[in-house]
């Protein structure tokens, strides 16, 4: 056997990158991504499931000012030249590979196809159907009551948790602060209590939190417990290590939002993405590779599914826009350096490779034998190792090279 590791020439496929992003969604994340990319000079086609972008009641802002700024930004979407808005859309399929996708969809009954270099699923999860009773509202319903100048009862208690065991996004209880302070500003006589294990008050929320405490809103934090009184109707007893036993009579209870995290799973599957048991779309690494999924060129923005704070949503959206613009700023994508390839003579068409590949790269082609989509193959080699007929090999890590290396390593190790 040759002592020199064997090399093989690289096979390359060049994909010309279409400088357009297709953004699916109607929430804050989708809006920010669209605006950021348009700013960078890329064309954006935004597909919304409904008629209008989602209203901002679901998001928590640290102040009225920041909420209004976001509103203005959202309105500017329709006048930004690089952004094309599509309404009443349903996506039927996303074909192709990074740099060259074809998104098939219906827009208000007529069919359309858009070609794009990157696709991002930025649809916020839908609300879970929760019936909590007549005296309980969700945080976003509270916001609507405030904005609509509705009459607010005299004793309002914000309690963290959504009344469901799952589907609570992060920082839900932080979202209470904005609404609580807003109520207090309009009606100083209303008694407000906030019951939460902990408050994270990042950034501008710190100022809002300080103002909320100064305004007389009572916060119960940490190791408290509460129950309904057995003796008196509509009476809640809170036991707090500092305050002792406190009795209050809530007239309105506000809970966290409850989201149906699986509401996007059908769309995720159409895009070739995996979802976990709760329906969340899996992304590779939210810190190191924001928005990236197992399918190159397809991104996911979790939005309200990850956090209810507007600042978190905007940060996530900006990070994802940055990932996308990195992809779109290339003129060509090259694939093929480490890919697997099939020797059709040996292939038994057993489907083992088709079933195992994390990237759905192998498929049974017209000749009834397996073929590998070069642009999808990420060179992991799982199919190479698994193929029962040794029909698949991998450039750069061929069987011959692996054997040669093993031989050298075993023999030469004694030094």
């Amino acid at each position: 056997m040759s002592p020199v590791p064997l090399r093989s020439p690289e096979s390359l496929v060049k994909t010309e990158v279409v400088k357009r992003a297709v953004v699916l969604g109607d929430g804050l994340g989708a809006s920010i991504i669209s605006l950021e990319l348009a700013d960078q000079g890329f064309d954006v086609d935004r597909l919304m499931p409904g008629n209008e972008p989602m209203d901002l009641a679901l998001y928590a802002f640290p102040s009225e000012l920041s909420r209004n700024v976001a509103l203005v930004k959202m309105k500017s979407l329709s006048s930004t030249p690089r952004i094309r808005l599509h309404r009443d859309c349903t996506v039927s399929s996303v074909a192709g590979s990074a740099g060259d996708f074809e998104v098939s969809f219906t827009e208000a009954k007529s069919k359309g196809i858009i070609k794009g270099g990157a696709v991002v699923l930025a649809q916020d999860p839908g609300l879970a159907a929760v019936d909590l009773g007549p005296t309980v509202v969700s945080n976003s319903e509270m916001r609507r009551m405030i904005e609509g100048d509705e009459t607010i009862p005299r004793v309002v208690v914000f309690i963290e948790g959504s009344g469901m065991t799952t589907a609570c996004p992060a920082q839900g209880s932080t979202a209470f602060i904005e609404n609580a302070l807003e109520i207090k500003r309009k009606r100083t006589d209303i008694q407000i209590y906030v019951l939460t294990k902990d408050i994270h008050a990042p950034g501008a929320f710190e100022r809002t939190y300080q103002a909320a405490q100064a305004s007389g809103i009572v916060f119960f934090r940490g190791d408290f417990s509460y129950r309904s009184s057995q003796d008196e109707p509509n009476c809640m007893i809170i036991r707090d290590p500092v305050a002792g036993e406190v009795k209050i009579r809530p007239e309105l209870i506000v809970r966290d939002e409850a989201f149906d995290l699986g509401s996007n799973s059908n769309l995720a599957r159409k895009l070739g993405l995996s979802v976990d048991r709760e329906g969340r779309i899996l992304s590779i690494n939210t810190r190191l590779h924001p928005g990236e999924t197992i399918r190159e060129g397809v991104f996911v923005c979790h939005g309200l599914g990850a956090s209810i704070l507007a600042s978190d949503n905007i940060s996530e959206a900006c990070a994802i826009a940055s990932s996308i613009s990195e992809l779109l700023s290339k003129d060509f994508l090259e694939h093929g350096a480490e890919v697997a390839f099939v020797d059709k003579e040996k292939c038994s068409a057993c489907l083992a490779c088709v079933r195992i590949c994390p990237y759905d790269a192998p498929f049974i082609g017209e000749k009834g034998k397996a073929e590998i989509r070069i642009a999808s193959c990420q060179g992991c080699g799982i199919c190479v190792s698994l193929c029962p007929s040794k029909a698949i090999d991998q450039s750069n890590w061929t069987d011959a090279k692996m054997s040669a290396e093993s031989e050298i390593a075993s023999k030469g190790a004694s030094g």
Partner: protein, 233 residues
């Protein structure tokens, strides 16, 4: 397809006792698909045998070959150069393949490395379930597409036995009762009326145990005239 499983390594080594130049022969068909006897398994088994030979000082020479289908004379004929000089072939194809090799090369001992088991299907990757009993008298049209011969432990033909509990067979909690499955299937098809059809006691003549079964397709058999005209090739 045919489902088989490799014999344990120790048993294979015992079977090979007394032989020295061994050809391990695989197949690209059924046994490759059920991950027992394809080219990859040929490689792994060969390496295991070489390891054993080196450790135990057997002095074995292990060679490898994989053919498209080990039951076809044309393909088995092609491995003649590989058979040259060997005193044994360890076939990890199904029993048919092992026998085809023996018939083609009567002077070289053909040894089985595989236990051929049944006719079945992969229900998920790596898991193969017996599905068809090869009884030669199929009644799937009466049982909603569920074979009562192999999927029922007693091969009952007209409903479950008293051991059927909660949809499971009395032989084990993991085995579904076939007649429960048949009932559900017929219900889904809207054909529970088929349960009324009495399937008579089975005529086992077309099944195994009665000599090797021969099936003939007259149109494909070469007539005497055709043989004469074609001559030897």
């Amino acid at each position: 397809m045919i489902i088989g499983e490799q014999k344990p390594l120790k048993e294979i080594c015992d079977i090979l006792e007394g032989h020295h130049r061994i050809l391990v022969a695989g197949c690209r068909s059924c046994v490759a698909i059920c991950l027992a006897g394809g080219e990859k398994e040929v490689g792994i088994l060969s390496e295991s045998l070489r390891l054993h030979s080196d450790l135990a000082g057997k002095g074995w020479e292990i060679d490898e070959v994989t053919v498209e289908r080990q039951c076809e004379n044309e393909w088995v004929r092609e491995i003649a150069p590989k058979i040259e000089g060997k005193d044994a072939v360890l076939s990890i194809a199904c029993g048919v393949g092992a026998q085809t090799i023996q018939a083609m090369y009567p002077k070289v001992r053909s040894l089985p490395g595989l236990n051929t088991s049944n006719m079945g299907a992969p229900i998920e990757p790596g898991i193969f379930m017996e599905r068809c009993g090869g009884c030669g008298d199929c009644v799937l049209h009466l049982t909603g597409g569920i074979c009562p011969i192999v999927r029922c432990a007693k091969s009952l033909l007209n409903g479950p036995c008293g051991g059927s509990q909660n949809g499971k067979c009395e032989i084990g909690k993991e085995t579904p009762c076939a007649w429960e499955e048949i009932y559900q299937s017929l219900k889904e098809l809207g054909r529970l009326d088929l349960l009324e059809a009495n399937i008579p006691p089975k005529d086992w003549t077309p099944s195994r145990s009665g000599g090797p079964r021969k099936i003939v397709r007259p149109e494909a058999v070469m007539s005497e005239t055709e043989r004469q005209l074609r001559g030897e090739r």
